[in-house]
């Protein structure tokens, strides 16, 4: 068992991980490594299309306070306002920083960074680079990491987090390329492993690998997860595949129409129309479909109409959207509306972390989608995730540097690594009565059916039972590939087991939150209930494998809860 030794290990090479690595590299001589299960530029930050919100020096009439208010209102008042405040105030700083490093933001004729309107925002404050904002940010950050000679452990898979109940001591990981469990000793760990919307396997905008590996490892290590019941359904996923159509398509003036050609959003959000926040638009679309006003032979999708924008504007502002619609849906948006339906998109919940990204374990930080700071509360606004990723990538890096500078050497025991080795061996020797692909599909169906856009008690309880049954059956899945090198069969199984661990952590608080707030829409409790539920759910897994739910207050500073109308 090879032992590696670092001061800071950043797990995940997406926007948060790379920005953390960059800020760590530039601010310390400590040994920092980025560990990622893919190559950094494959990370799903690259799929973020629409843009990144920030109030810039030339945003006339706008202010970080207005941005904070929109964010808090968008979150249905569940976001922690001290954290939102930090994020919104740092907006301009991170935008200019990455622009100075080479991100090719789209520009106004006067050479300043252009901004477009986005859902739930009171000003056009979404900075963008055509419709590939995340892609350019990811590529630029990677370039800058190469420039700074950042150490990468590419294609390494996180297995476990080792801590002594007080501070973090190391991690264990599987070297995908060569095979083998490794014990990595480190003083600080930043988890930046992304979201877990792949729990909804069959209908999601997420990459194949967005399986919440860091979140699941944290859960297994006894760390609390927060607000896990909140999963964002993006209103516009391509009908056949769930692949994302950017909110920018509506930002640029796209219409949503039902089978009668009606712009139905006027009945749901008369003022903001198509640019209402995502939870509201997703529910509107789902309601239209459920009530028989969907388009197509089965009435199971809605039309996103861009035809009136004209070919030139579509090519200039939404080139990727056009390409994807043609390739994956067989529809050219210049000529025909795009068939879309809600798709599981973003995990608002995640590893419980404070406004600096710190978890209850010293030296362990979480940033980006795997974390729940919480800046998104019950519903994230479009364009706020790239901002969250950068702000918290940077903040956690500085926190980790400060901590690791002074922290004593750690001494992680090899027991965890031995356990993990055993676990992997057991997978290879299992009876194989169940197949990963089947169970994963079943889990996806259960999640979508019982914990989808609309939820209710009876159905969710049934759903939880089915999840627990799948969890039981998952003990019989087998890894058929017994080779060490590039064993994707093993990785697929480990990823699935992570999803299985996370599913109950979503289901349990979803059942207990007896109100509708943001993305958590209950038919049996259609109203928000501030008296009883203006609080974060916190879920932990106990030693015996059972899940324990508790609650924790929301930090409210400037904006008292009010009715959310658009």
């Amino acid at each position: 068992m090879v032992e590696l030794d670092y001061d800071i290990v950043i797990v995940g090479g997406g926007g948060a991980g790379l920005y953390a690595a960059l800020w760590a590299a530039e601010n310390t001589i400590l040994k920092v490594a980025v560990m990622t299960k893919v190559y950094p530029t494959r990370s799903h930050t690259g799929a973020a299309e629409g843009g990144i919100n920030a109030v810039l020096t030339h945003s006339v009439g706008d202010s970080p306070e207005a941005h904070a208010y929109d964010t808090v209102k968008g979150s249905d008042f569940l976001a922690d306002q001290d954290a939102v405040d930090i994020m919104c105030k740092m907006g301009a700083a991170v935008i200019y920083d990455i622009a100075h490093r080479g991100v090719p933001f789209s520009r106004r004729p006067d050479g300043r960074i252009a901004q477009r309107p986005f859902g739930g925002a009171s000003f056009p404050r979404t900075c963008y680079a055509a419709d590939k904002t995340g892609f350019y940010i990811l590529q630029t950050l990677y370039e800058q990491c190469l420039k700074n000679n950042v150490t990468f452990l590419n294609e390494w898979f996180l297995l476990s987090i080792i801590h002594n109940g007080e501070k973090v001591e190391g991690i264990t990981a599987w070297d995908i390329r060569n095979g083998g469990v490794h014990l990595i000793k480190t003083k600080a760990v930043i988890l930046a492993t992304g979201g877990h919307a792949r729990v909804y396997w069959n209908r999601t905008s997420n990459a194949l690998g967005n399986t919440g590996d860091g979140t699941a490892a944290a859960l297994r290590a006894g760390l609390p997860l927060k607000d896990m019941e909140f999963i964002q359904f993006h209103p516009t996923g391509l009908a056949k595949t769930g692949i994302l159509v950017t909110e920018g398509a509506r930002g640029e003036g796209g219409y949503l129409r039902n089978k009668d050609g009606e712009r139905f959003m006027k009945r749901y959000a008369p003022e903001k129309m198509e640019l209402a926040p995502r939870d509201i638009v997703a529910r509107a679309i789902q309601t239209e479909i459920d009530e028989g006003r969907g388009c197509g032979p089965n009435g199971d999708y809605i039309c996103l109409d861009l035809t009136h924008l004209g070919e030139e504007k579509i090519n200039e502002r939404l080139p990727q959207t056009r390409e994807h619609a043609i390739l994956y849906e067989g529809v050219d948006p210049v000529k025909e509306p795009i068939p879309i339906a809600p798709t599981a998109h973003y995990s608002m919940g995640g590893i419980d972390a404070d406004k600096f990204g710190r978890t209850p374990i010293k030296g362990l930080y979480a940033a980006g989608e795997c974390a729940c700071i919480s800046v998104h509360g019950a519903n994230r606004l479009g364009g706020n995730s790239l901002l969250d990723v950068l702000v918290y990538g940077r903040l956690t890096a500085l926190e980790a540097v400060k901590y690791a500078d002074e922290a004593p050497e750690t001494n992680p025991s090899v027991a965890k690594a031995k356990d993990d080795e055993k676990r992997i061996l057991e997978l290879m020797e299992a009876d194989g009565k169940e197949k990963v692909a089947d169970l994963r599909r079943e889990l996806g169906n259960v999640m979508m059916k019982h914990f989808g856009v609309f939820r209710e008690e009876k159905s969710m309880k049934e759903g939880l039972e089915k999840i627990m049954e799948i969890k039981e059956r998952a003990k019989h899945v087998k890894v058929y590939d017994t080779s060490k090198k590039f064993n994707t069969d093993l990785i697929t199984a480990l990823e699935f087991l992570n999803l299985v661990d996370l599913a109950p952590a979503i289901a349990v608080p979803a059942i207990e939150r007896k109100e509708s707030r943001g993305a958590h829409a209950r038919k049996d409790y259609p109203k928000r209930d501030d008296k009883n539920f203006l609080k974060h759910s916190v879920i932990k897994r106990k030693e015996d494998g059972t899940y324990e739910l508790s609650w924790k207050p929301v930090t409210i500073t400037k904006f008292p809860p009010e009715e959310r109308k658009y």
């Binding site: 190559y39 700083a93 200019y96 990459a207 194949l208 064993n487 697929t492």
Partner: protein
Amino acid sequence: METAVLQVFRYDPEKDQAPYYKEYEVPVEGTLLNALLYIKDNLDPTLAFRAFCRSEVCGSCSMKVNGKTKLACKTPMKELVETWKGKPLRIEPLNHMKVIKDLVVDIDKPIEKMKTLIPWLVPDPRVVPTDPMHESIIYPEEMEAYKDQIHCMLCFSCYSACEAVADNERYRGPFAFSKAYRFQVDRRDIETAKEKRIRYAISGGLWSCVQCQKCLYVCPKGVKPAEDIQNLRGQAVKKGFTDKPGAKKLKHFVDWIYATGQINRLYLPEEVYGNKEAREKLTKAYTEMGVEVWEVPKPTKGLMKFRDIYLEILSKEDKALDLDYSHVRKIDKMVSDIFKADICTIVDKAHEEGRSSRGLISKLKGLLGGQ
């Protein structure tokens, strides 16, 4: 349901003595990536390939289909079946990289190669403010210069298809030059970095590219490495990096065409490769073959006018500075010596003799792409 047969390259260096092909029957539905996932989920979980975003932004799933480089998530099965009617579809890993397992290749080497070309912005403090709260102004027009290069997602399709990579171990690869060129045309990048990039590009095989244009055709994102390489070469010459054969050849072409209207096959080996005997040997060989030989072509009427036209064309392409007038003067002198009069007189004389120059000019225009 319509199906197709994939013959998939399989190789596990731990177990297999040699690579082999395994056949799988897959539905003709969605993309090639869907087909591979179908195999993994339903037929054979041991098949190894890389895939992540499934929507052509991450660059993981490039591979070869019947020898052609494809991004699996961007390739509809229907299209493949239609293109290769009746033929089996052979799925193989990319070229020029070591196979780790099945369709997975080692991409560390091309990344390391790319790193040597400084593929990142080195900000010029006079253009990029050091104050983090100060915006740097960039006009939309300036971004046109690198609008294609920024789409590179490191899928290594071009690297796999490249002839020069096959021939030259040191060759950095098409994408690497495009990544470098993107910063060569960014006003914010400091001049010293631009100069270094050229230096490193030259030692990384800038002149080895044979302009086969394959990179340009296989790129799933519309990046045009072959063009970027040409532009980098132009920059190299402009910056005075003229000691490589490639640069010398370019110089020979530009100067001789300007001076005489055509390249000089007798002087080319000497001027480009320093081969001093070539001229004599070639003269002998041509004479023996009965081919007409001239040391320099006789200037004809209209040469001066041609020079004006040629210069105008070069200027339009921003290449006028590539002309080396001292070299041109030397050629002029050689012409004058051979024909025993200065170049203008010779031209005038040719004019007086009433020889048509039209033939020459149209020929030269042909040489310059018909302009």
